[in-house]
Point group: C2
């Protein structure tokens, strides 16, 4: 219902994007992007986090929107402004992110740029107290849902499923393993070891890993990585639809 | 060296505060305030954090500076601007905070408003990998230094040592226990249970617990709590110096 969508947009409800088809290589496509860290509660005051700033994921969402796509950005806790032209769903935990991604399907492209916690803690309802003389408490860890693998194996699988691999060593080898294990089409791999300055920084040195091989890109801004990735995605989708 | 300090201040080096004595009830006093959360690394990308925003601690530092004190603010990772007129030392972990507080001693007053992690993880040098089929990793927790208890028992003990107790139940009972266990003079206790809105929020409902009793303050802004606490501290110090 176009009238309702226009009214919603005028009232600032970003979750109902205008059904207007924008020009661009991803025009008419729905792209889901996850971004940022997840926070996994240990108790009401403590949580496990990670050093993802969301800069790369948010830049990809902005680039996909600029390329004409309808973009749903599912973002963990970040201090970044919402990118222009994207419907933004804010979440805290991996389970919330998983639910938001499933709600946003179907899509043509899924790009999992968030640093999703592999594990969560069996959270305590009350603040864990430090008891005098007692030993440190043990945390029971529980595996979180694997959002990337789940999307890649979904009955409503997007045409293109893109994962990220943040590694501190053997970057490309780990990325190839991840590609196979998760069942996705592309992995953007990068070195986040100390001194790389990637986590929280403004630049990235990425390798695009597919079953066909590896493209190693020079160090560039996260915006430039985003534009290049979105350009490659648009090419792959166009190629897959080209007549024989 | 006044000339060097003036020059440093003009060059914006906040760690060398002007040795000018400001007017106010805490004029000529050195106050150390800790604020914010600490981040304890699990591996190069993951860490344990807590929901402290630093708003209360930063407001106390600002109030103490406004009362004429020379203030050293030791702050964990926060997104707040540095309060005016304070020397700010930024740290990440509890151990870094402990070292920065010891470096800042001696002082007339110590106010431990930071939410210091009780435990840290024996951090891994490389990112912990999720292995296919393997069970979740166990984290070995190690107790962090107890900054409040250490300052309260230091040979250079400040005249007044003030702790905070963020509790989710039995707020005052827990605060009294903490007062005795840590050896401090005052505990500012508050309820941070879900729904209280204290963590990250702008208001606080505080109880000032001393060996003499409990003052329960009405709900007020964190700035108002800060001003009231600093006023009480100035009174206690003045009383302790009054001739018999």
């Amino acid at each position: 219902d176009i009238a309702a969508a226009v009214e919603a947009a005028l009232q600032g409800d970003a979750r109902l994007p205008l059904p207007l088809v924008k020009a661009g290589p991803l025009s008419g496509r729905h792209v889901i992007v996850t971004s940022g860290p997840t926070h996994e509660a240990i108790d009401p005051v403590r949580y496990i986090a990670n050093r993802s700033s969301g800069k790369q994921g948010h830049a990809i969402a902005a680039a996909a929107a600029a390329a004409g796509a309808r973009v749903t950005l599912v973002s963990g806790p970040v201090t970044l402004p919402d990118p222009k032209g994207c419907a933004v769903v804010r979440v805290e935990s991996a389970r919330e992110m998983f639910a938001a991604v499933n709600d946003a399907l179907p899509a043509d492209v899924f790009i999992g740029a968030a640093a999703v916690a592999d594990w969560r803690v069996e959270a305590a309802a009350h603040k864990i107290k430090k008891e005098q003389g007692a030993s440190a408490p043990a945390f029971s860890l529980v595996e979180n849902p694997d959002i990337l693998a789940s999307v890649a194996r979904a009955s409503r699988r997007p045409r293109l499923v893109v994962g990220f691999a943040a590694e501190t060593r053997d970057v490309i080898a780990h990325a190839r393993q991840k590609l196979n294990r998760k069942g996705c089409d592309l992995i953007v791999a990068n070195d986040v070891s100390e001194g790389s300055g990637v986590f929280g920084g403004d630049a990235n040195e990425a390798h695009l890993v597919s079953s066909g091989g590896v493209e190693s890109w020079p160090r560039m801004s996260k915006e430039a990585v985003a534009a290049r990735l979105v350009g490659r995605i648009a090419e792959i989708i166009a190629d897959s639809e080209a007549p024989e």
